[in-house]
Amino acid sequence: MLMTIAPDNLKNLLDKLARDRLLVAPSMEDGVTRLKPVHSAAEIAFDYSNTATSIKDFLFPQSEDLLRFVTDGTLSIEEIKPERAQVAFGLRPCDLASVALMDKVLLGGEFSDAHYQTRRNNTLLIGLACENPADTCFCTTYGYNPGWAGAADVMLYKDGDKYLAEALTDKGRELVGGPGEGLFKPADEAAGEAVKKAYAEKDVPFGKEVDVQGIDKILDGFFYDQYWDDISKKCIGCGTCTYVCPTCHCFLLTDEARGGQGLRFRCWDSCMFANYTKMASGANPRPTKKERVRQRFMHKLNYYPNRYGGSYLCTGCGRCVAMCPVGLHIAGVIKDVKGVKAHA
């Protein structure tokens, strides 16, 4: 069912939610709009193209404690669980799409990642459709669009002086009927559908330039291409692409201990780092930037779709396009590889 909510009522709702859970929302600091914890709606930026950081920071945080241990002669282990409820507001369609891709890795297969699952369960996702896609945005390349609701519990679409709202999950419906009671009004279904359609069909200029069709198959035979030698030369191995990426999920487990007790935590790692695959023996199967750069793009455009059935491990959020210091990003690689292939 479609509803509407006035901007003041939306702010009231967010203020109310911030009282009993962590509210995460776009907020500007030093000229950069990030997704970050805020205390109230007053700190929220409502006018932004996309946030510099993604929902990944809150579902799969950069550093996360897994267990506590005591080793004073004996050994005891206590699992740490991420109990805190959180609500994330203002998520763009690219981030809402990324959650489904992360779910496949972290929740799929024989083993399910319990910490991620708990955070998914504890987090309410409120999406906000894109009015003005940035010139780095290319979500449409992958079949997403500026109105894509993906994993959203509630999706919002700015419509003139109000927001069109749709609750998409039980969690979303509980929000509308619970804390949101009296703040939402029923919307005219036909008019609402027209608004949604307009967002879905909104122009994403950069997306038109990047055609990913068939690249997974092309890359089947591209592993040995000279291309990887050429493009990897300019990579400086900073790892920015992997950190800002909403779908890069590689992590490291590390212990910190003092005086017979300590913590085991996981933190993001990056396939761009030289030590990433270096073994204790000194052997390193990906010893140079060439292998590491190739790994990242092969993973996103070939290994992942082959393993998980179809989707690429990229949603066209454009963060790496905007932030790679040397302009080496996935949109460029897609264009290049298809170009090389076309001229071969």
């Binding site: 050994l75 297969g109 910490h115 999920h249 199967p285």
Partner: protein, 279 residues
């Protein structure tokens, strides 16, 4: 039981056996402290487990004991880095964390009724030992068994009791040991494993070859096996990669589209040839 597959269970190192003259390779027999967990720990030959030394870290280690001898879990570990250094410093009775078992296993079904040729080098006999004892415990189900093994020197040979006293007692089973360099007491063959293997001239007919060893040995052994007439699907080996999670999430142990932790570590040469040479 912990909810997360990344949380280890508490175990104890029950027994430590030094394998080599330099004591740089030791076999650790461990058990879970919870008897119910110990009872339910079902693994297969070729699988691995993640061992934790808390405050230091974790390492993925192949299980060297055989599931046919229930109640015994052993890991043969070379002192190589921070975690294995810490394990080597441990004494019997010390606690550690264990999670697993992980990965696929040696294809026993495909080996039934076949002649088996094991080729190992150095402490990479560890994963083979699980399978060797497994098939010897079911000796009648297999044809001839030959074990070809080499190390740098007599002092570097692992599992000497089994090599020279136990395995040789089984019928229709040959144990062939070579060293790169002998010493005053060594009267056996001297030389690298691949030429030694070729000199033994094992038949490829109705046979499966299973090989583990240092990368350079594997590379040469694969060439020797090809010369001896072994087809790619008659050759089985294991891969090792840097691992963190062991459950297909952390992203680093992939070779092409395969994760060694869940899709491996055991691969036939046919499967290996479909992967990029990034291991």
């Amino acid at each position: 039981m912990p909810e997360s597959p990344l949380i280890p269970l508490v175990g104890t190192i029950d027994k430590i056996t030094s394998e080599t003259a330099a004591s740089d390779i030791k076999t650790f027999q461990v058990s879970f402290d919870d008897p119910a967990v110990m009872d339910n720990f079902n693994y297969q030959s070729g699988q691995c487990a993640m061992l934790s030394m808390f405050g230091v870290g974790e390492s993925m280690i192949s299980i060297t004991s055989t599931p046919t001898r229930k109640g015994v879990i052993e890991f043969c570990i070379k002192k190589t880095g921070r975690v294995t250094d810490a394990i080597h410093e441990a004494v019997a009775g010390q606690k550690l964390g264990i999670r697993g078992p992980y990965g696929n296993h040696f294809p026993l079904e495909m080996m039934k009724g076949k002649n088996l040729l094991f080729i190992g080098g150095g402490f990479a006999l560890a994963p083979l030992r699980s399978l060797i004892n497994n098939v010897l415990d079911n000796r009648k189900e297999y044809g001839r068994i030959d074990i070809v093994y080499g190390a740098r020197s007599p002092g570097d040979l692992c599992f000497k009791y089994e090599l020279f006293e136990n395995w040789t007692k089984y019928e229709n089973t040959g144990v062939h040991v070579t060293v790169d360099r002998g010493d005053d007491k060594w009267t056996g063959p001297v030389g690298f494993v691949p030429p030694y293997l070729e000199s033994l001239n094992p038949s490829a007919k109705d046979s499966v070859a299973i090989t583990c060893g240092p990368p350079i040995m594997i590379k040469m052994v694969l060439q020797s096996l090809s010369k001896l007439g072994f087809a790619d699907d008659q050759v089985v080996t294991t891969l090792e990669m840097k691992m963190q999670c062991g459950v297909g999430k952390c992203g680093r142990c992939n070779v092409g589209g395969k994760y060694v932790c869940v899709d491996g570590p055991v691969f036939t040469l046919t499967q290996l040839k479909q992967l990029p040479p990034e291991f």
